[in-house]
Amino acid sequence: MLIIRCPICGDRPELEFRYGGEGHVARPAATEALDDQTVADRLYMRTNPKGLTVERWRHVHGCGRFFNAVRDTVSDFFVTTYKAGEPRPDLDALKKEAVR
């Protein structure tokens, strides 16, 4: 069971959280300007990286907030977590800290 650092509550056991999929995925707004491929990309295409990934979690059994996290998908160690709405961090900069 992972320990996940909720940006609001701090370190909490994984059981209090629900995984929310890849982070910073733009929602396909209802504009016809968007072609079908772009819609599909936003709905279905995922980066799914081996290494640092930016993902969403919800502290559903805690403060209830959705937030973003940067996790190393090989070690499952988190590099950082931050509130929803905050900008995506620079992964290359974070890679240095990614050790743990």
Binding site: Y19, R46, N48, P49
Partner: protein, 417 residues
């Protein structure tokens, strides 16, 4: 290829088994191949085998990052069935089951395919409706699948607890008698041995580091830890690592890689003759030829390449097993491991050419890839050889996500295994 048989076994026994040939060569990587298969798991090796066997394409390299069959092929719970809901899926998986039937003879390698019967339990009215819908669709697709009431379930699997005093009593089950299991390692080794015998180079400990494309964007070469290989056709069959490999060709995939756990008990004398699955309480179980109870469940909650799962997932798996089979409560977990499964949004695989000329991809099998190994390799070989999909895998394109023509087995049935 040296023939395997009881007689050979007898003969060589007197020679102290000194004269067995290697299962496959340890070839050096050639500078160029007609086709390069990335991924030496069951699907990749089967693809190479059928390329050579059915399409006469033998100048093929299978590049394996580690040891062949070391990924999901060697980590899965080996369940084989074809009672999927949609016509497209049923055709694909049943194609596989037909090939399973005489695979041992075709490969001259005993893959121990055992049609022990796969029973999928229904615990709710919705389960029953879903199971019946499957059964009717399967029947009209020529796929065997029959409805059993609780007593019939018990008769088929005497260990099953069909009493009303469990939380989700069993309301019946769907049984596919042709379903069963096979020996996972043997599948990889059998295909490898047969493909090797036809000239396919199996290169282990060879990791692909880059996929090179020419000015037109078409595939021209693959760079590996053992050097560069020129080729115009690449088949990516990398399961959990598909997104990583495809990103080398700048192709984004509708995939997420999740950990999938499985476990075995200590070996015991034959006690469990069939395969039982419950999607409502998330568990499935069979007994291996070695006597181990082989148990699996759904994926862990978050994407990961760590190849290990969480303890609380094991708990949920085993509380379900103990609920269905209370006499196994004192059995003990011997080994627990995790694989990496690549999951598509509609829980159906992708066997498809791509926007990149010469690049083909076979992925998205989620938790259920092993059962499809022969069929998958067979139609994917066709796709690579001819450049066009086989009738059977034509619906399993990448484009379906753009067009919305999904084959949503998960949504339709909540069946993921």
């Amino acid at each position: 290829m040296q023939t395997y048989s009881a007689l050979q076994l007898l003969r060589r026994a007197f020679g102290g088994h000194q004269s067995w040939e290697p299962l496959w060569r340890q070839p050096a990587l050639k500078p160029a191949y007609d086709v390069v298969i990335i991924g030496g798991g069951g699907h990749g090796l089967a693809t190479a085998y059928y390329l050579a066997k059915e399409h006469g394409i033998t100048n093929v390299a299978v590049l394996e990052k580690g040891w062949i069959g070391g990924g999901n092929t060697g980590r899965n719970t080996t369940i084989i069935r074809s009672n999927y809901l949609f016509d497209e899926s049923a055709a694909l998986y049943d194609h596989a089951v037909k090939l399973w039937d005489d695979l041992s003879q075709a490969l001259n390698y005993n893959v121990m395919y055992s049609a022990r019967g796969v029973m999928m339990l229904a615990h709710t009215v919705h389960d029953v409706q879903s199971a019946k819908r499957h059964i009717h669709a399967n029947r009209l697709n020529g796929v065997d699948n029959e409805w059993l009431d609780p007593e019939a379930c018990k008769a088929f699997c005497p260990e099953l607890n069909i009493s009303d005093n469990i939380r989700y009593p069993i309301m019946g089950g769907a049984l596919q008698r042709r379903g069963g299991t096979a020996r996972h390692d043997a599948v990889a080794w059998g295909y490898a041995r047969a493909a090797d015998a036809m000239g396919v180079d199996i290169i282990q400990n060879c990791e692909v580091t880059a996929i090179r494309r020419d000015a037109t964007g078409a595939i021209e070469a693959v760079e590996t830890t053992k050097g560069t290989v020129k080729t115009r056709k690449v088949g990516v069959v990398a399961a959990g690592h598909t997104s990583v490999v495809m990103s080398m060709a700048d192709v984004r995939m509708p995939l997420e890689s999740y950990p999938l756990q499985a476990l075995v008990s200590e070996p015991v004398k034959p006690t469990f003759t069939c395969v039982v699955m419950s999607n409502t309480i998330h568990a499935y179980i069979s007994q291996s030829d070695k006597g181990e109870l082989v148990i699996g469940a759904g994926t862990d909650a978050y994407t990961s390449y760590s190849q290990r799962g969480a303890l609380h997932i094991t708990e949920h798996t085993l509380d379900a097993i103990c609920e269905l089979f209370p006499m196994f409560r004192r059995m003990r977990m011997l080994r627990n491991w995790g694989g990496i499964v690549d999951v598509t949004p509609d829980r159906s695989p992708i066997l498809s050419k791509t926007a990149v000329p010469g690049l083909f991809v076979n992925c998205g099998w989620g938790t259920g890839g092993f059962k499809a190994t022969p069929g998958s390799g067979n139609v994917f070989a066709h796709t690579i050889a001819t450049g066009e999909p086989h009738r059977i895998n034509a619906p399993f394109t990448l484009d379906r996500f753009r067009d919305g023509t999904l084959i949503d087995e998960a949504a339709a049935a909540a069946v993921a295994h």
